[in-house]
């Protein structure tokens, strides 16, 4: 069981926040800031017209963060305009992933969401033309070390991140949603084929609803960095609530998870969305994806790990096992990305051969 932390109460039932004491607000603001969810809580209260009822001090903190998220949305639009311009002649539609997709499609998961990179996915055989076009328009490769270049280009599912020389913005160009070396291999061609044009655009696409949820799940449960874990779970919760209005969404989701071999990450996504955020999931859904359920012993351990690591990295949400849980999940994520021999080789290179920063 997950203790009833303020941040979880706030996300589940923003209406209840108006009865918080100032001392509770103090703690909630800190948990939310650490989880990068402060602006979201501000917007959740505002759309319920409850912001005025928050005491002035904490309200000020919420509004400070809203300023940042408003600027962020504007900056994302501008950046995507630039990316479209750069890729205009390439003839490949830009398929936006994650945060950029949520913002451009105006999905509820974009509310107050801050992120640093724009992620796009293109067919693998267009990678080099896309890369060249971006370079012509001012994006330059990062990670100049020969080993890092090989790491990305041979084993990973994306090019080394590219940074714009003037704006310093970063774009990640993907050709798949999981590394080449990972055991799970969702077929990128299927994902791209189902991608849908963004309303009002003829050159920008986003994943189909079920694929968007699956990608979000894969991203969270294969990620080695879980410091934004709760924010990512909020994405999943918010996507599920939003798309459940579509008549065939839940069936599509389980069919698609089978088809792409993503039952396990979907199982975890639904399990923890329900545990943490009371996401309404139809009763038959968990049975429909039983194949994704790990054996009881594994599940017991995974619960112990994720129920700690998905909370904000704040001392008020940690116990004596939290640090260990994060470390184990880091190793797990890296292990899911690469077979063990390759992993050993990679870690050896990183530890003893790669030049150290500074």
């Amino acid at each position: 069981m997950i203790p009833n932390y303020l941040i979880l109460q706030a996300l589940r039932e923003p209406e209840a926040l108006i009865s918080l004491s100032l001392l509770d607000w103090d703690l909630l603001i800190r948990q939310a800031r650490r989880a990068n969810l402060l602006a979201r809580i501000c917007l959740l209260l505002d759309e319920r017209s409850l912001l005025e009822q928050v005491p002035p001090k904490p309200r000020q903190h919420l509004e400070w963060s809203r300023v940042i998220s408003e600027k962020h949305i504007q900056a994302v639009h501008w950046e995507i305009t630039q990316i479209r311009k750069a890729l205009e002649k390439v003839g490949v539609p830009v398929v936006l992933l994650k945060g950029a997709a949520y913002v451009m499609a105006k999905l509820p998961s974009a509310k107050g969401r801050l992120f640093s990179d724009i992620d796009i996915i293109v067919p693998k055989d267009s990678l080099s033309v896309v890369e060249a076009a971006l370079m012509l328009h001012g994006w330059a490769a990062t990670h100049h070390d020969a080993y890092d270049q090989r790491y990305y280009r041979t084993w990973m599912h994306e090019l080394p991140p590219m940074r714009h020389i003037k704006r310093k913005t970063v774009i990640d160009v993907h050709h798949a949603i999981l590394p080449e070396t990972a055991a799970l291999h969702p077929d990128s061609a299927k994902l791209l084929a189902a991608a849908q044009l963004l309303d009002g655009y003829d050159d920008v696409k986003i994943f189909a609803p079920a694929d968007m949820v699956l990608h979000s799940a894969v991203h969270l449960f294969h990620n080695d960095q879980l410091d934004q874990g709760l924010r990512d779970l909020v994405d999943i919760d918010s996507l599920l609530r939003h798309f459940s209005k579509l008549p065939t969404f839940w069936t599509d989701l389980s069919v698609r998870a089978h088809e792409l071999g993503l039952m396990r990450p979907l199982f975890y996504a639904l399990r923890y969305a329900v545990h943490f955020l009371n996401t309404p999931v139809p009763s038959g859904m968990m049975e429909a994806i039983q194949n994704g359920r790990p054996n009881p012993l594994t599940l017991f351990f995974t619960d112990q790990l994720f129920e700690r690591a998905l909370l904000p990295a704040h001392k008020s949400c940690s116990d004596w096992l939290t640090g260990t849980a994060r470390q184990i999940l880091y190793v797990r994520a890296t292990w899911l990305r690469m077979p063990s021999l390759l992993l050993a080789r990679h870690l050896f290179h990183k530890a003893f051969i790669s030049p150290k920063p500074e």
């Binding site: 103090d26 800190r30 903190h61 400070w64 600027k71 504007q74 704040h314």
Partner: protein, 314 residues
């Protein structure tokens, strides 16, 4: 109750255990530290600041601590934690108090987005504020320290906070940071000024902090109308010279010295326009502090009628 109500040993103990809730300007900082030099610095320079009741809402939770690494045995360090998170790389333990000051500036400059924030010293006289934005090394803190020792009220040595809603400047009087030669210059200029211990070899050279005047601290809640934007520049041997600056140039230069002009978007542009419209803008070159005091003493605010012309159009 002010910090001075606690004896040095009570203060040290409080900082080590529950921490203190320190009121600076409109912000409450929950501050903890185990480092003796920080406790001493607070006892000396923050004596006149109010302590808010324990366990209330704090804007910032700050802890200055010593990292638990091997180095603590031969080259001890200090670490600034913002609500448990490391913000800066550790510094030598000797620099712990300046690090607190820099850290508190960081707390404000990265969060307080209901204000247009400008990297500037701000002083007030007769109900009007002079903002002195300037890059490091131009002598703004030296000039600011001299002015506040000659009857001007200290509003801030580092951060001009201009409330977006009404264009008023919110005071944040905290210790004035002086560097290198400036420390001795101000010591000679005002022998009664209280200074923290000098710390050598910081990233800014030798630094010391001067205590803010008690009256400025007591009046920290009074927001002020800005009347002047003055870009100071210390130039050895120069005769003091106040030169009118076109508003367009002043606008761009203030924007260059702002922490969040771009972040605030349209709101930032409106606030900046209002500020520049209401202000007389100058370049100010000086070498002698007494000349500067005289020239600042003769400043007159702009006639009130055209203040509002542009502001209303926006």
């Amino acid at each position: 109750m002010n910090v001075s109500a606690l004896t040095p040993s009570e203060l040290k103990l409080r900082l080590k255990t529950a921490g203190i809730y320190l009121q600076t300007g409109s912000f409450t900082t929950h501050l903890k530290t185990t480092i003796p030099s920080v406790a001493e610095g607070i006892g000396l320079l923050y004596a006149d600041y109010p302590l808010v009741e324990q366990d209330c809402f704090a804007d910032f939770h700050v802890n200055l601590t010593r990292p638990r690494n091997l180095r603590r045995w031969f080259k001890p360090q200090a670490l600034f934690l913002f609500d448990g998170n490391t913000i800066f790389k550790p510094l030598p333990l000797d620099q712990a108090f300046p690090m607190l000051e820099w850290g508190l500036n960081w707390c404000v400059s990265t969060h307080v987005n209901h204000c247009l924030m400008i990297h500037a010293a701000v002083v007030e006289k007769g109900g009007f504020a002079a903002i002195m934005p300037a890059p490091p090394g131009s002598g703004k803190s030296t000039l600011c320290a001299a002015l506040v020792n000659r009857g001007w009220r200290l509003l801030s040595d580092e951060l001009a906070l201009i409330r977006v809603s009404d264009g008023k400047l919110i005071p944040l009087p905290r210790p004035v940071s002086l560097k290198n030669e400036s420390i001795e210059i101000i010591r000679r200029y005002e022998p009664n000024a209280i200074f923290s211990r000098k710390v050598a070899d910081t990233i800014k050279g030798t630094v010391a902090h001067m205590k803010a005047p008690a009256d400025s601290i007591a009046r920290a809640a009074e927001a002020v109308q800005v009347a002047w934007v003055i870009f100071p520049k210390y130039q050895a041997g120069a005769t003091a010279c106040l030169e009118t600056l076109p508003q367009s140039r002043a606008f761009m230069r203030v924007a260059d010295n702002s922490f969040n002009y771009s972040l605030l978007g349209l709101q930032g542009f409106k606030a900046m326009t209002k500020l520049i419209d209401a202000s007389l803008c100058y370049d100010f070159t000086y070498s002698k502090l007494d000349d500067a005091i005289e020239i600042f003493g003769a400043l007159k605010p702009q006639a009130a009628n055209n203040n509002h012309m542009y502001a209303n159009e926006l």
